[in-house]
Symmetry: C2
Subunit: 276 residues, 2 copies
């Protein structure tokens, strides 16, 4: 299988490395709009050849679009005319409804995908062949999805140790709004709210702060796209979160320990259900 | 040094274990309002003898009050009459202004303390002798604090591998409101806001969700007290956080990618300053 990688960053780079280590990729062609990133991916052994998007499309049996979600439709148009017959295309974007809708019209054998893995790091230097081991990958086929293409993409993810789950694209977006997009938005806003705090804070943060805000260290490029593309589900959850914060604030202001304890119990139960 | 432990939970138990392993504690007497917890601490080798609070006070050279913060003043009153001459008393509570004010009036050799370490776990079974290694401990002496007592408490924390920092009690409360109490409140509210979400979420959370909400798994007993006792600084920060969330929500609703990117940059810079 000749692999084509469009976007040689954290997720794309990790997938290429993992497929190579699993012996599941032959030659790997990589493109990146940032030429330095493609060169770095080449020198790190993530790809065998840095090429243009059209060259990658012409060479690959399986193409992975690992670019910010709002760039995916243009990327699909850029490769459409150059693809080999039978080539399978997938993506790793954090939203699926608009991506699948757009790509299905452009590419005959497209399968939407989203690995539930990642980190706050970015760029080819952060590529990690173990990133997907034991993690879930959501694939979002629709009635029109080519079944062979779906099988090929599912096999690719299983080859790197992931478990494949299928889900409707719209349902996917609602789920990740809750378990990923809301927590990222909350962590960014929390850190931004601490901008004016005095320098004594530096170095006094415990593990709780570090862990709970680690996702706020993620560079903004991909997250601007995610927040904009998934704004419907995300805005609803931000409103629910605002209301819950207001409830907690009111209980604290009123000195109502029983109300605080009740909210904490509800929170712990909800988390236990989601994380289990 | 005979150690007296009032409260045999996660922090108190970890400290006793760590002092024993460092060879810095002789006999350890432990009390807990939950008799089963004291018995468990005894069987785990955290304490040598389970006793009443008065017995612990009568036996110990150094007493550590490791109970929820709103229980500390009553605890101080309970031990005051039974203390050995020269006995040093400290605490591990997450707030300091009210604790230090109350205890200074009751105990002649009291030093307020707060280890910047912990986890979402609770009870003697979660005691971890390595919990404080490499961590900071904030001590909050005032003009009236006995200097020998301060030295003894600082030595105790250095014996378990921690670095001691001194800070004014009120300043301490403002700092921890930012790096600890606000993140805990935010994580509890976030999880509570997801209560109504569909069961598909279970098992699909990635590492980002698990890490960012881990602190929301902490049992509520100590946090109700912390939120109530530190409500002044915490309410101000909750308001700043509410405003920042509203700003992010407005940018997303307006489709303003530049505003979202700007907020993310501010958040990342603030976090880098605090965590560094």
């Amino acid at each position: 299988v000749i692999l084509g990688l469009v976007g040689c960053g954290h997720i794309g780079g990790s997938l290429a490395l993992a497929l190579r280590q699993a012996g599941a990729a032959g030659r790997v062609f990589g493109a990146d709009r940032d030429g330095a990133a493609a060169a770095r991916a080449l020198s790190l052994g993530i790809i065998d050849q840095a090429a243009s998007v059209a060259e990658v499309a012409a060479a690959a049996d399986v193409l992975v679009l690992a670019v910010p979600v709002l760039s995916i439709p243009a990327c699909a148009r850029a490769i459409a005319g150059a693809l080999r017959p039978g080539a399978v295309v997938t993506d790793v974007g954090s939203t699926k409804a608009s991506v699948v809708r757009a790509c299905a019209q452009i590419l005959p054998r497209f399968v939407g995908g989203h690995p539930m893995a990642g980190s706050e790091r970015a760029g080819p230097d952060s590529a990690d062949a173990r990133l997907f081991a034991g993690k879930r990958v959501i694939l979002t086929p629709t009635a029109g999805t080519d079944r062979d293409a779906l099988g090929a993409v599912a096999r690719m993810w299983r080859d790197v140790g992931a478990t494949v789950v299928e889900m409707d694209p719209t349902r996917h977006d609602a789920v990740v709004a809750a378990v990923s997009h809301l927590p990222h938005a909350a962590a960014y806003a929390l850190c931004a709210a601490l901008t004016g705090e005095a320098p004594e804070l530096a170095g006094l943060s415990g593990g709780g702060f570090i862990d709970s805000t680690r996702i706020a260290a993620t560079p903004g490029a991909m997250w601007v796209d995610v927040f904009l593309d998934n704004r419907g589900p995300l805005l609803s959850l931000l409103d629910a979160y605002r209301d819950e914060l207001a409830r907690l604030r009111a209980a604290i202001a009123a000195g109502d320990g029983a109300a605080i304890a009740g909210l904490i119990d509800v929170a712990r139960a909800a988390r236990a259900r989601i994380v289990s």
